[in-house]
């Protein structure tokens, strides 16, 4: 057989998948904008916090002009009631949306992997206790709990030294999203570890006198990256959507900051009068989520072991 490492095979397969590459490029652009947009933005005259009283009408606070007040000054229009620039909000909002989704994903994956590995490798009581905890967490109506605990937990986070207001609220979002997300991942990892630990290379490692730590982290962990990568890619868009749903229900960042979810949630009020409020962030969000999902699918195909061997 022509020899290539799995990494090379996966990369080669992805390279050939034009749609996946396109999505990858799109995502890179999104992240670049998320990282650099708020840095470069001000020099382009963008400021999401600046009110433009002149852009909104005295009659109801709506934007003056068509399509949500699209003008040279505000290429995507202005916010109802305040006249803040939509384009700027999108740039800054993207950053928070990505920070929330990415951090929550990383946290979920970290916790899920650690717990999953422990449960999978430990067997016996530890496995059982972790299993029951996972069952318990999975049984909770998480939307309800997130809503109910939003304030008290945000306060607790503030007490821990996180700046009050949006930093604490973002931290709450990240923590709360991940704390209901990890069991799914932990289950997957546990299953993988259980099957991996029976593989003979683990026995071989024991036979040569490897420590438990070496077995867990050098032998088993590298074998998890494929499922983890796929799961992560699919988790990210799910979390972008979760953030939007939570914003819709009123848990999330508050002005002056915004996120895609918050913008969408607010836009619904004005949808009939100013459709662009819905469609502009909606389209941008949809492209982000669809790109993630398509890339995740492509990765899954590329990493499919049955196709590899």
């Amino acid at each position: 057989m022509v020899g290539r490492s799995l990494r090379q095979i996966v990369w080669a397969r992805l390279r050939r998948d034009k749609l996946a590459m396109f999505c990858l490029v799109v995502l890179v652009i999104y992240y670049m904008i998320g990282i650099f947009g708020p840095v470069i933005g001000p020099s382009l005259g963008l400021d999401p916090y600046a009110f433009d009283r002149a852009a909104i009408s005295d009659r109801g606070g709506g934007p003056i002009g068509d399509f949500g007040g699209i003008s040279a000054k505000h290429p995507l229009g202005v916010e109802w009631g305040t006249g803040r620039d939509i384009l700027s909000q999108l740039l800054w909002g993207l950053r928070i949306s990505l920070v929330v989704a990415t951090s929550a994903t990383l946290l979920t994956v970290t916790v899920g992997v650690i717990v999953g590995i422990i449960a999978g490798y430990a067997r016996g009581w530890a496995d059982m206790v972790i299993g029951r905890i996972m069952d318990l967490v999975l049984a909770f109506p998480f939307l309800l709990i997130i809503l109910a605990l939003s304030n008290v937990m945000t306060d607790r986070i503030t007490d821990l030294g996180v700046p009050p207001g949006n930093p604490s609220r973002i931290a709450y979002l990240i923590i709360v999203i991940s704390s209901f997300g990890w069991p799914y991942l932990a289950r997957i990892v546990r299953g993988q570890v259980i099957s991996l630990r029976e593989r003979e290379f683990v026995a071989a490692a024991i036979a040569m006198g490897s420590s438990r730590r070496r077995i867990l982290f050098t032998e088993i962990l590298p074998n998890l990256w494929a499922p983890l990568l796929v799961y992560t890619t699919l988790l990210l868009p799910a979390y972008v959507g979760t953030e939007a749903a939570l914003s819709f229900l009123g848990v999330g960042v508050i002005p002056p900051d915004t996120t895609f979810g918050a913008m969408l949630a607010n836009s619904v009020s004005y949808f009939r009068v100013v459709p662009t409020y819905l469609f502009i962030p909606g389209t941008i969000l949809a492209i982000l989520v669809v790109s993630f999902n398509l890339l995740g699918d492509a990765l899954r195909d590329a990493l499919d072991p049955r196709a590899t061997h």
Partner: protein, 330 residues
């Protein structure tokens, strides 16, 4: 098999116990003071204190919890030492002092709405999801597969509240195809019931069907690689039987798992959908209870929802045994 069921049920009881404990103490952290909430404009610390006593909030949490649990089995009496004690018969999930109603009564009132919503949505998405998933798997790589999967991807990617709102705005407001949703039971006014539930069903089905299409497709394709499918074909079975009887049945386990849990989750209230369509179900009740900091009600609904999911887990596990004879061994 019987032993298996008994063990699973015992496991469920333990889990439920842990659940009541967690829920109870989780919500003890809530900032809103229920005693303050019951106190009107002319409120003095003494009144708050007294109400706290009547609400039994002045006893240690452990004892509150004991009373709560014993209320579930034996019933309990609130405001015992007032002229107007409130009898709450077993199973007593608590009493909403904000709504002056037993939590169980409130839940029982909301439950039928959610039941119909969930069942209708469930059937719709299962039928659509499984059918299209199979079609997609059979036509793998062709345009019809791409189209179905494309639709699934979009349905999967849209924020959940978005679909319902767009449906309301177009179907009801713009095109006037349906009247405004107004909940009624099917026995009272079947036409109105269907008109009201149609869009909620579609909304829920759109969200879930996408997932089930993908799941079904993946399962069927995966099972197609199994040796026994080759055997079935080697026997000369018609493709239809190979797909439905051999492939789908074998791939049913994760679908049943997901369906059981999703249905249970929905039966506990579809918070967003119910709110969008003004359906007086458990989801709306839940949101209302959270906004009003109605602790007994939040606790009751959380417990009920979680118990449903735990119960669904049990049912799903038992269903495995029906589907897969290998599981039946004790």
């Amino acid at each position: 098999m019987a032993g298996y069921v008994v063990r699973r049920v015992l496991g469920m009881v333990l889990l439920l116990f842990l659940l009541t404990l967690t829920v109870f103490f989780l919500f003890n952290m809530m900032p809103a003071d229920p005693a303050r909430l019951t106190c009107g404009k002319a409120c003095s610390p003494a009144v708050i204190e007294a109400n706290r006593h009547h609400l039994e909030l002045d006893i240690p949490p452990i004892e509150q919890y004991q009373r709560f649990v014993s209320g579930i089995f034996f019933g309990r009496t609130f405001s015992k030492d007032t002229p107007r004690p409130i009898e709450c018969e077993a199973p007593c999930l608590g009493y909403s002092f904000l709504r002056n109603t037993e939590v169980l009564t409130l839940i029982a009132r909301a439950a039928p709405v959610t039941f119909w919503l969930a069942i209708g949505g469930f059937l719709t998405w299962m039928v659509v999801g499984l059918t299209l998933g199979i079609v997609s798997a059979l036509k793998r790589g062709r345009w019809i597969d791409r189209t179905i999967m494309g639709i699934a991807l979009i349905g999967y990617s849209l924020p959940s509240f978005f679909i319902g709102l767009v449906l309301i705005f177009f179907v009801i407001l713009d095109w006037n195809l349906l009247p405004f949703p107004q909940w009624t039971t099917p026995d009272k006014d079947l036409g109105r019931f269907v008109q009201t539930m149609l869009l909620p069903w579609i909304t829920i089905a759109t969200l879930y069907a996408a997932f089930y299409m993908r799941l079904t497709r993946n399962q069927v394709l995966e099972i197609f690689g199994e040796d026994y499918i080759r055997t079935a074909r080697a026997k000369g079975l018609p493709e239809r039987i190979v797909v439905v009887k051999h492939a789908l049945r074998a791939g049913l386990t994760p679908i049943v798992t997901a369906a059981g849990l999703d249905l249970a989750g929905l039966l506990g209230g579809a918070i967003i959908t119910e709110n969008i369509f003004s359906l007086p179900g458990l989801g709306s009740l839940a949101i209302g209870s959270v906004l009003a900091s109605d602790l007994p009600l939040i606790t009751g609904i959380t417990l009920l929802t979680a118990a449903l999911i735990i119960f669904a887990n049990l049912i799903v596990d038992l269903l495995y045994a029906v589907i897969d004879p290998r599981v039946r061994v004790g």
